[in-house]
Assembly symmetry: C2
Homo-oligomer: 113 residues x 2
């Protein structure tokens, strides 16, 4: 039961999505293909670190990479991943609003993207 291959596979994908940086990468890529360097800039993080996170996403085949001369362009393989992230955003925004609301209605202008 625990060794169910499909559930293992799902868990692996969820695991790959379970990091703020990788979520940010996928959100940026959702708007279109980007080079590793462009991602690095947008994220404001070390090159090696971004590359490592991209390696995680590549290993699970969540992103595709295309070499063009000097650069490597990344894109999201399957649009379903975008839908998963979108659903999760809806879910988390509701929960966050709820939690923040609980600790006082006076707490206004809490910006949640």
């Amino acid at each position: 039961m625990q060794g169910d291959p499909l559930r293992r596979f799902k868990a692996d994908i969820f695991q790959a999505l379970a990091h703020p940086t990788r979520i940010a990468i996928l959100e940026f890529l959702g708007k279109g293909e980007l080079s590793a360097g462009a991602l690095m800039e947008k994220l404001g993080m070390e090159q090696a670190n971004v590359s490592q996170h991209l390696a995680v996403l590549r290993a699970k085949r969540i992103v595709a990479n295309r070499k063009a001369g000097n650069q490597v362009f990344y894109s999201v393989q399957d649009p379903i991943i975008g839908e998963v992230l979108s659903l999760m955003r809806t879910y988390c925004r509701a929960r966050l609003k709820e939690t923040l609301g609980m600790l006082g209605e006076t707490r206004k202008a809490v910006r949640v993207r």
Copy 2:
């Protein structure tokens, strides 16, 4: 950018979903409320282990628990979680089929729930 609260929150929820046992628990609970003991039976796992995974899901408020005398009944808090799992199942089935297909069309009758 990396410290974005919403992305951290999303990552935390994905992390909670990133285990085959917890996915199984949520799939069972998707069909209706179940006691911890009933889950233990359906999963065929140790009581303590199931309880630990339930604790992870509780900590993230993904499941709700209701005490009724001797037992504790669990249920999924928000139906969106079910939708996320459903989307992920669709995604993973497609990927698994594709991957298995790649290593020989002769491999038939590979049952993927």
